[in-house]
């Protein structure tokens, strides 16, 4: 397959050898599971169970609310012990509503919907509904509800379904292992997604640093003429959906255009597998593949972890952390974020848990910018990190916005290469959050202005009516007086 070049990017050391050859191991049942109602992008789900309810494995615990949302299901059988605010697996350490499930140790399934033995004979609409029911979200990390993407894409002419198996973040090997061990399920899932949105072909992009996965997937794809494996150059961040599409089609997609608008639908390989399982077995998304690695981890592994399992249980299963471990990160080392503690649960978007040592991180203090321009060279979005960061440092957010800081997707390439160790992506994360909040604030102000104006108008109208009434009364009285006089 012909590939197109993508601008910028970096070539970090991949550090995947600790887990890449180890089989995925299922995590045993633990006593308690913690299920945040918001594990996906969009609105929080709403609990549909009560404290004390006994639930089966796979039973619906929380239903989606609104257009962009996803349900949450029970990862094992047990009793709902609490529905309360608990620390979220989020760098802020802020609380979020969470269902606490005490396992009964039986791990027995609830009644599941019909398993479609041949999903390709079912109406595509039913497949899309099944994916929505199953609560499948993008497992690459963004956790966007898969069903919403399918629904949007089904209304557009989709030329190509792209499965993202690039996995370009260092350390992570979950997608690699899934492709090696479940190649058939991944390919079936890709074909099913194409079927659900009426797309003619499936392309699976895999970085060249995963030769085993490429070989196995190529073999599994031989049976289908409309499934193709593309081996991508190992270049971070080619696993970003927009850049992956660019590498495969040559189309550059701006941050403000939807990928579906150019006729492409991108899903992660793990997501494709979850889509397949939801249709073929009637299974909801209740577990995910998590890479547990980093220099601070005693025995790094790739695990199949039920969603809701405390991070601590994963770390213990991997032999615990050694004394060099300094920081726990969820996700990869370039785009991942820190966890407030290790009692928080694995959620649908948790691709990795890394215990990093100080040698694996950079703690050197920032020095003045050398104006070397390397950050500009590597930015895959064609932005100018050096200029944007100096504007943000001086609180000139408006000007940074004009330089399109909102198009930055926080890949961290600029910070990675900066010889002065400037916290570039950190400036952009701050600026994007602040600008979003201000836009929200402005929207709210406009709404309030309209409401205040409406209220004033209403009061004025009441006043006018009162005056009118008073005048009328006066006139009536005058008329009555006249009559009296006349009599």
């Amino acid at each position: 397959m012909k590939l197109f070049s993508v601008r910028g990017g970096i070539h970090p050391s991949y550090r995947k050898q600790a887990t890449t050859a180890k089989k995925i191991e299922p995590l045993p049942v633990v006593p308690f599971y913690f299920l945040p109602l918001r594990q996906h992008s969009g609105a929080s789900a709403e609990a549909v169970v009560n404290i004390g309810d006994h639930v089966g494995k796979g039973q619906l615990l929380a239903a989606p609310v609104g257009r962009i949302s996803a349900p949450v299901h029970a990862p094992t059988s047990g009793i709902v012990r609490a529905i309360q605010n608990m620390t979220a697996p989020h760098p802020s350490g802020l609380p979020g509503m969470t269902i606490v499930l005490e396992s009964d140790g039986k791990d027995s399934w609830a009644e599941l919907p019909e398993a479609y033995s041949d999903p390709f004979s079912v109406d595509p609409k039913l497949i899309r509904e099944r994916v929505a029911w199953a609560g499948v979200v993008g497992l690459g990390g963004a956790a966007f509800p898969a069903a919403v993407k399918l629904e949007q894409s089904s209304q557009k002419p989709i030329k190509m379904v792209v499965l993202n198996g690039a996995e370009c973040e260092p350390y992570l090997t979950g997608d690699d292992r899934v492709m090696q061990e479940y190649a058939d399920e991944v390919i079936s899932g890709g074909r099913l997604i194409a079927y659900a949105v009426g797309a003619p072909k499936v392309v699976i992009g895999i970085e060249r640093n995963k030769p085993e996965a490429i070989a196995i997937m190529k073999k599994a794809a031989e049976a289908y003429d409309n499934v193709e494996i593309a081996d991508l150059p190992a270049q971070y961040p080619v696993g970003s959906a927009r850049h992956l599409v660019q590498a495969l089609t040559g189309l550059e997609i701006s941050a403000r255009t939807r990928i579906a608008d150019v006729g492409v639908l991108v899903q992660n390989v793990g997501t494709a597998r979850a889509v397949w399982r939801s249709a073929h077995y009637g299974e909801p998304l209740i577990s995910r593949i998590v890479t547990v690695s980093g220099g601070g981890m005693n025995d790094p592994k790739t695990l199949d972890a039920p969603i809701g399992t405390p991070v601590k249980a994963l770390i213990e299963y991997c032999g615990g952390m050694n004394e060099k471990a300094e920081q726990i990160v969820t996700g990869g080392p370039l785009m991942g974020v820190g966890l407030p503690n290790i009692d928080v649960p694995v959620i649908k978007g948790t691709a990795g848990i890394l215990a990093l040592t100080s040698e694996e991180m950079d703690h050197r203090p920032a020095e003045p910018c050398l104006r070397c321009g390397r950050c500009v060279d590597v930015c895959p979005c064609g932005l100018s990190p050096v200029e944007m960061s100096s504007l943000i440092r001086r609180d000139k957010l408006d000007e940074a916005e004009q330089l399109q800081v909102m198009d930055c997707f926080s890949c961290g390439s600029c910070s990675y290469v900066c010889p002065s160790h400037l916290p570039l992506v950190q400036y952009f994360n701050y600026a994007k959050g602040e600008i979003w909040n201000r836009r929200d604030e402005e929207r709210k102000q406009n709404k309030i202005k309209a409401l205040a104006a409406a209220k004033e108008a209403r009061l004025a109208e009441v006043l006018r009516q009162r005056q009118l009434a008073a005048e009328r009364a006066k006139a009536a009285k005058a008329a009555a007086n006249k009559e009296e006089k006349a009599v």
């Binding site: 050391s13 802020l94 785009m335 100080s358 203090p365 916290p423 400036y427 709210k444």
Partner: protein, 220 residues
């Protein structure tokens, strides 16, 4: 011909004179800057800025150099818009203290007198007579008129809470050098934990090998 020229120029002159006169006589006494500033203010006439209402504050801003950070409900975004319109620089450290607030009704104290509803400038309170009243957070802009109106002290103005929805990373502070010594900055730095230098040069070696490969391909 001559008649046409004369009559047209007379007409032109007369009309021009009329226009000139009318613009003098019928002039509306409105300062454009003042109007522009007023449009930026919330318009709820709450008086928290220390003036009678929004238009008086706008006038003071335009003519008396009143500070742009006086509008509490407007918060940072209004302060910034005002500063931009006036072309003055804004010290946000000032605006930080005015932080957004929202009204909270303590239900055990509310007697359902509806006094707050009557005063609320943006219809943010719901409730019927003799029933407990509540505030709709999304439309309350913290003008605190209801707080003054409530006869039982049931209304408290509380700062708008930081939640998972509106949280964002802090601005990096270059003065704090050791990221691990400061937990706030440690979290900051986490968005990116490895750099080319801490990577032991492996990345560079890999890149060089790629370039070599490409060259060989080109030759072959």
């Amino acid at each position: 011909m001559l008649i046409a020229i004369i009559s047209l120029s007379v007409m032109g002159l007369a009309l021009g004179l009329m226009l000139g006169l009318s613009s003098k006589l019928l002039r509306v006494e409105e300062d454009p800057i003042e109007g522009q500033l007023q449009a930026l203010l919330p318009g709820s006439q709450c008086g928290q800025c220390g003036y009678v209402g929004c238009s008086q504050y706008a006038a003071a801003l335009a003519h008396d150099g009143a500070p742009v950070t006086q509008c509490t409900p407007g918060g940072k975004s209004v302060a910034e818009a005002l500063a931009k319109a006036l072309g003055v620089s804004l010290d946000l450290s000032d605006a930080e203290d005015i932080g957004p607030k929202t009204a909270l009704i303590h239900e055990d104290l509310c007697i359902g007198c509806t006094a707050c509803i009557r005063d609320c400038s943006s219809d943010a309170i719901i409730g019927a007579a003799r029933q407990v009243h509540t505030v709709i957070g999304d439309v309350c802009h913290g003008c605190s008129k209801c707080e003054t109106a409530c006869p039982t002290g049931a209304i408290e103005m509380v700062p708008v809470a930081v939640t998972l929805d509106n949280w964002h990373w802090d601005k990096p502070n270059l003065a704090i050098q050791d990221s691990l010594a400061n937990p706030a900055f440690a979290a900051q730095a986490l968005a990116n934990r490895i750099t080319e230098e801490s990577d032991g040069g492996q990345g560079k070696a890999y890149k060089a090998s790629l370039e070599k490969e490409a060259k060989e391909e080109a030759i072959g």
